[in-house]
C-alpha cells in the first residue's frame, strides 16, 4: 500500500449544483489507497452522486468499520462528520446514530471482510431492523488492509497471493440482503461509474435499508485472472439486470432512452427511479424473483448488476419505534424529565 499523496480526484468541470457547490466541495482528504484500487472509484461515485443530488455535505453522516474500504469516508465529503468505528460493527453504530437524529443522511461504508466475515451479524440485524441508511459494501473478496487473506465472499477454490486455496463457500451479500428484508438491493461495479452513480443516488433517496454490493477489485491482492472480483472478470461477465436513471423530485421526467421496456418507480419522497430493462424476466418489485434471478445467473458464472429489488413504500426503524421527529440532542430536561411533582407521586406509590 502506498502512502504517497496523490492529486485530488480529477474533475472535468467545476460546475456548481443547485445549491452552489462544486464537486470539489464534496471531496475529502487525499486517498492513501493503492493506485487503481476499486474503492477510490466508489468514493468518486459517491462524490458525484451527492453533488448531483444537491445534498449539503454536512447533512450526511458517514460511518465505516475497519479496512481499506472503511478508510474511504475520510476521502470524500470532508464537511461531513465521519466515524471510523471498529471492525465489523459499523451497522450498530450507524443504528445508534440514526436513532439519535433522523434528520441526517446515513451513509455506511464497509468491506466484505468487515461486513461478511467479522460483522455478518451486525449486517444482518441492521437490515432486519429497517435502519434508514445507505449501506455500501466495497467487495473485493479479500482482506486488503491485512494483506490478502480470504474474506467470506472469496471465491471457492480461489488461490491467495500466498498460495493458499480457499475451501469455504462464498457468502452472497445481495442474496442475503434480499432474504433479510432490505427494501433496496442493488449490485454495482466500481469500474462502471455510469451505472454506479445512479444506483447510489437512488439508494440515498430511498427510505429504509438500501444495500449496495459494489464489486471493487483489489489490485494488490485479488485482481488476478479467475477471481470473480477482478476488473477483467467483471467486465467480461457483467450481466446488467437493468439500466437505472434517477430522476429527482424537481426534475421533469423526460424519456431519453432507446426503446425497450421502461419501469418508473416512484419513491416515498416523489423521486423516480426509471429502469430500462435489459432482461425481460427481471421484475424489481418481486423479492423472490430477484433472488431466483441472481442465483440463476450466478450459477452461469455471471455477476448480475443493477437495481435488483426496491420497495418504494418501505418503512424504517423510526416508524417502527414511533419516535418523535426532533433530533434527541435538541430535547432538554423540560421535554425529557417527568418533573418533581410526578416523582412525588411515584414516591408515594412506593410506600
Amino acid at each position: 500500500m502506498t502512502y504517497i499523496a496523490k492529486p485530488k480526484l480529477h474533475h472535468p468541470t467545476l460546475a456548481c449544483n443547485a445549491i452552489g457547490f462544486t464537486r470539489r466541495d464534496y471531496e475529502g482528504k487525499i486517498s492513501t489507497l493503492c493506485a487503481g484500487c476499486g474503492h477510490d472509484s466508489i468514493s468518486a461515485a459517491i462524490i458525484q452522486a451527492c453533488w448531483e443530488l444537491d445534498i449539503e455535505p454536512h447533512r450526511v453522516a458517514k460511518l465505516s468499520g475497519i479496512g481499506c474500504s472503511s478508510k474511504t469516508p475520510d476521502y470524500f465529503l470532508g464537511q461531513s462528520h465521519g466515524f471510523n468505528t471498529v471492525h465489523g460493527r459499523m451497522p450498530s453504530v450507524l443504528t445508534g446514530a440514526n436513532l439519535a437524529n433522523r434528520e441526517l443522511i446515513y451513509l455506511g461504508v464497509s468491506g466484505d471482510g468487515d461486513s461478511a466475515s467479522i460483522g455478518i451479524g451486525q449486517f444482518v440485524h441492521a437490515i432486519r431492523r429497517g435502519v434508514n441508511m445507505v449501506y455500501i459494501v466495497e467487495n473485493n473478496g479479500v482482506y486488503g488492509l491485512t494483506k490478502g487473506q480470504f474474506s467470506a465472499t472469496a471465491d471457492l477454490g480461489s488461490k491467495s497471493k500466498k498460495g493458499v486455496v480457499n475451501t469455504d463457500s462464498p457468502l452472497d451479500l445481495v442474496g442475503l440482503a434480499l432474504q433479510l428484508g432490505a427494501s433496496f438491493v442493488a449490485r454495482g461495479f466500481s469500474g462502471d461509474k455510469k451505472q454506479l452513480v445512479p444506483l447510489i443516488k437512488a439508494a440515498i433517496k430511498h427510505r429504509g435499508p438500501a444495500v449496495l454490493d459494489v464489486i471493487s477489485p483489489c489490485v494488490a491482492f485479488n485482481n488476478h485472472p479467475g477471481s470473480t472480483k477482478s476488473y477483467d472478470y467483471v467486465r467480461e461477465h457483467n450481466e446488467a439486470a437493468n439500466r437505472l436513471d434517477f430522476i429527482d423530485v424537481r426534475d421533469e421526467i423526460v424519456v431519453d432512452y432507446a426503446a425497450g421496456e421502461l419501469i418508473d418507480i416512484t419513491q416515498h419522497d416523489g423521486s423516480v427511479l426509471r429502469l430500462r430493462k435489459l432482461h425481460a424476466n427481471h421484475d424489481p418489485h418481486d423479492r423472490v424473483a430477484a433472488l431466483a434471478y441472481v442465483h440463476e445467473r450466478q450459477a452461469k458464472g455471471e455477476v448480475v448488476t443493477g437495481l435488483l429489488y426496491v420497495d418504494a413504500e418501505a418503512e424504517d426503524l423510526h416508524r417502527h419505534l414511533n419516535t418523535v421527529p426532533t433530533p434527541f440532542h435538541r430535547l432538554g430536561a423540560k421535554e425529557l424529565s417527568p418533573g418533581a411533582a410526578t416523582l412525588a407521586k411515584i414516591n408515594a406509590a412506593l410506600r
Partner: protein
C-alpha cells in the same frame, strides 16, 4: 426445645415454586409489615438451573432498620415439596415451620427442635375454588392471612394494600379479601396463636420508599434524559431495561402527537448494544446500556473506542457472580477491575458505586451528565442484591430547575463567530476538548472520529508526540473526573482509632450493622464509603491516617483493594482484605466476625506491617 421469641426482629423465609403466584403474595406480606412502620428487607433467591424452579423469598423484619441480610431463618414457610428437606434443615432450633398439611408427611420429615404449624391449604382451596388457577393463587393469599394471625400483622393494612392494588376492580378485590379471611379464620380456629415471633406497630419507616434498584436506575435514566437504550437480555440487568421501557411508555410519550421521546432497541448481542449507544452518544443523544459481567466482556473493544474517541456512554452493570456464567442469579462485586480498566491499550474508566436504590436513581441520572461532561464511558456498578430486591430507601429527589449538563459542545453560532474548533485539543486545561454534533454547520466543525491516533485537530497521525499528547490529556481528563464524581462518605468512630474500613456499593447496610455490633463490643473503626473511581484524594488521606485499613468487598480477589494499591501506590500490607464471595449478600455477622478477629488480635499485639493480612 425453647421456641424462639422475638418482636420486630426476625427472619422469615418463603420456599415457593416459581410461577405459582407467590411473588405478589410475599410482597404483600412484606409491605403489610412496612405499613405497620416496621422496616423489612426482602431478598429473592432464585437459582437458575434446578429442575422445578424453586424460588425463595427471605424477609428480614428489623425495627432497628438493619437492612442487610442477617443469615439464619427463624420461620420457614415451606411451600415447595422439592426443597422440603433443605428448607427444614435450614431453620434455626426453636424456629417455626409453617407448611401445607393436606398430604400427611411421615415424622421423619420433621425435626423435634422446631415448632411445626400445619395448615391444609390445598384442601381448603380445593373445597372453596373450582378453577385450578384460583386454587393456586388464593392459596398464597390464604397463607398470608394465616401468617397475619400468627405474627400479629394488622389485617387492616393488608386490606388497604388490596384496595390500592385493585382500585376499580371490585371483583378481584372481593375475592382476595375473601381468601385472606379464609386464611385468618382457619388460623384463629385451629392454630395456636400468637407465636413467639411478633410484629408490633412502630414508627421506624418514615418517609422511605420501597423499591428495587433496577427500577430506580431505570427511573434515573428517564429523569436524567436518556433517549436511547440498547440492551441484550441478561440476569440480573434485564428488569432495568424493561422498567425503562415501562416508565418511558408512561412518561415519555408526547401528549399531542403520541410519538415517543425515546428509542429502545433490544439488540442482537452486547456488542451491538454498546455499538448503538456509542453511535447515539456520538450523535448527541444521551444513551445507555445495561448488562452484567458477560456483557461487559463482550463490550470491551467498543469501550476502548469510546474512551479513545471520547464518546459519552453510560453503562449500568448489574453485577452477578462470575467468571463466565458463574453464578448467574447470585450477587457479587466482581466486575470492578474488569470495568475500571476495560478494553485493550491504556484505559481507565469512571465508576460509580450506588449503595441502594436511592443512589441507583441518583447515580444513573448523574452518569448521563458525567458522560456528556467528560465525553467518556461512565459505569454504574450496581449488583443483583440491590438491583433485583426491593429495599427501603430514601425517596427519590429531583429539582425541576436542574438542566442537563451537555458538556462542551460547540454550537453553530460559536463556529460562525470564528471560535477555533480542535476536537482533541485541551483548551481549558481540564483535559476535556470540545466536540460538535454531526450536522452542526455547513463548513465548520466537521471532523473525522476514529479509534486510531490523531493530532489535536482530529487529523490522522501516527507521530509519537501526537499520540503521547493525547494520552496525557486523557489522564488529565481523568484527574478532572476525580473532582466531579460523588465524594466518599466518612464516618468517624465514637473513639479515636488506629483502624479504618473502606467499603462500597451494596455492602453498606451490612457494614452499618457490623460497625454497631463491633462498637457494642468496644471495637472502634472509622469507615469510608467509596462512591466512585477515580478515588478522591480523601481516600488516600483516610488510608494514611490509619495504621491498618480493612477493605470489605464481595469478590474473591479484593478488586477495589487492588485499585487502591495501584492508583495510590499504597503498601498492600496496609490494606487488609475482608472478602465475601459465595454469592449470598454479605452479612453484618460475617464482617463483624472477620474484622473483630483482626482487631482482637491487634489488641494483643499492635498491628505492624508483617502482622496483618
Amino acid at each position: 426445645m425453647k421456641p424462639i421469641t422475638a418482636t420486630n426482629d426476625f427472619v422469615i423465609k418463603f420456599a415457593n415454586v416459581n410461577g405459582s403466584g407467590s411473588a405478589s403474595a410475599n410482597e404483600l406480606f412484606a409491605k403489610a409489615i412496612l405499613r405497620m412502620g416496621v422496616p423489612v428487607s426482602p431478598r429473592n433467591i432464585f437459582p437458575s438451573n434446578i429442575q422445578g424452579l424453586p424460588t425463595w423469598y427471605e424477609v428480614r423484619v428489623n425495627e432497628r432498620g438493619w437492612l442487610g441480610r442477617r443469615g439464619g431463618v427463624d420461620m420457614m414457610v415451606a411451600m415447595n415439596p422439592q426443597t422440603w428437606d433443605a428448607d427444614v434443615k435450614e431453620l434455626a432450633p426453636g424456629g417455626y415451620l409453617f407448611y401445607d398439611s393436606t398430604k400427611p408427611l411421615p415424622p421423619s420429615k420433621f425435626r423435634d427442635d422446631i415448632v411445626v404449624i400445619g395448615m391444609p391449604l390445598t384442601a381448603i382451596c380445593n373445597r372453596t375454588y373450582a378453577d385450578a388457577r384460583q386454587r393456586q393463587l388464593f392459596k398464597n393469599i390464604m397463607y398470608v392471612g394465616a401468617l397475619s394471625v400468627l405474627l400479629g400483622i394488622d389485617d387492616a393494612e393488608i386490606r388497604k394494600l388490596f384496595g390500592e392494588q385493585y382500585k376499580g376492580k371490585e371483583k378481584l378485590l372481593d375475592s382476595n379479601v375473601k381468601a385472606l379471611e379464609l386464611g385468618r379464620d382457619y388460623a384463629r380456629e385451629h392454630l395456636a396463636h400468637p407465636i413467639g415471633l411478633q410484629v408490633r406497630r412502630a414508627d421506624a419507616v418514615g418517609e422511605r420508599i420501597f423499591v428495587d434498584g433496577n427500577s430506580a436506575a431505570a427511573l434515573g435514566c428517564v429523569y436524567g434524559g436518556a433517549t436511547v437504550c440498547a440492551w441484550y437480555p441478561i440476569t440480573p440487568s434485564s428488569s432495568l431495561a424493561e422498567a425503562f421501557q415501562k416508565y418511558c411508555m408512561k412518561y415519555r410519550v408526547d401528549a399531542e402527537t403520541g410519538a415517543n421521546k425515546f428509542a429502545i432497541v433490544q439488540a442482537e448481542d452486547e456488542i451491538a448494544s454498546i455499538g448503538i449507544v456509542v453511535g447515539a452518544g456520538w450523535n448527541g443523544a444521551r444513551a445507555f446500556t445495561t448488562t452484567s459481567g458477560p456483557g461487559i466482556s463482550l463490550m470491551n473493544e467498543f469501550i476502548g473506542l469510546a474512551y479513545f474517541a471520547e464518546i459519552p456512554v453510560t453503562i449500568i452493570d448489574v453485577q452477578r457472580g462470575g467468571p463466565s456464567t458463574g453464578m448467574p442469579t447470585r450477587t457479587q462485586q466482581s466486575d470492578v477491575l474488569a470495568c475500571a480498566y476495560a478494553s485493550h491499550g491504556d484505559t481507565k474508566h469512571v465508576l460509580l458505586f450506588p449503595e441502594d436504590p436511592h443512589e441507583c436513581f441518583e447515580f444513573s441520572a448523574l452518569a448521563l451528565d458525567l458522560a456528556d461532561r467528560l465525553q467518556t464511558p461512565i459505569f454504574v456498578l450496581s449488583d443483583l442484591d440491590i438491583g433485583m430486591n426491593q429495599r427501603l430507601t430514601a425517596p427519590f429527589v429531583w429539582d425541576d430547575a436542574r438542566e442537563y449538563d451537555r458538556g462542551k459542545v460547540m454550537t453553530a453560532a460559536e463556529l460562525e463567530a470564528g471560535k477555533e474548533f480542535a476536537r482533541y485539543k485541551d483548551v481549558d486545561g481540564d483535559g476535556i476538548p470540545y466536540r460538535t454534533y454531526p450536522g452542526t454547520h455547513p463548513s465548520k466543525g466537521a471532523y473525522f472520529t476514529r479509534g486510531t491516533s490523531r493530532d489535536p485537530y482530529a487529523r490522522y497521525s501516527e507521530r509519537g508526540p501526537d499520540y503521547v499528547y493525547n494520552m496525557q490529556r486523557l489522564l488529565k481528563k481523568f484527574a478532572t473526573a476525580r473532582t466531579l464524581v460523588p465524594a466518599p462518605v466518612p464516618r468517624a468512630a465514637r473513639q479515636k482509632t488506629r483502624h479504618g474500613a473502606i467499603y462500597y456499593g451494596s455492602t453498606s447496610p451490612a457494614m452499618d450493622e457490623a460497625i454497631a455490633a463491633l462498637e457494642d463490643d468496644g471495637l472502634n473503626l472509622d469507615t469510608l464509603r467509596v462512591r466512585a473511581f477515580p478515588f478522591a484524594d480523601s481516600v488516600a488521606e483516610f488510608i494514611a491516617a490509619h495504621e491498618a485499613v480493612f477493605v470489605v468487598e464481595q469478590n474473591r480477589d479484593g478488586q477495589l483493594r487492588t485499585l487502591l494499591v495501584n492508583e495510590f501506590g499504597i503498601d498492600p500490607a496496609k490494606l487488609v482484605p475482608i472478602l465475601h464471595y459465595d454469592g449470598t449478600p454479605i452479612t453484618a455477622r460475617f464482617i463483624a466476625e472477620a474484622i473483630g478477629a483482626h482487631l482482637r488480635a491487634a489488641r494483643v499485639a499492635p498491628i505492624g506491617k508483617d502482622k496483618v493480612a
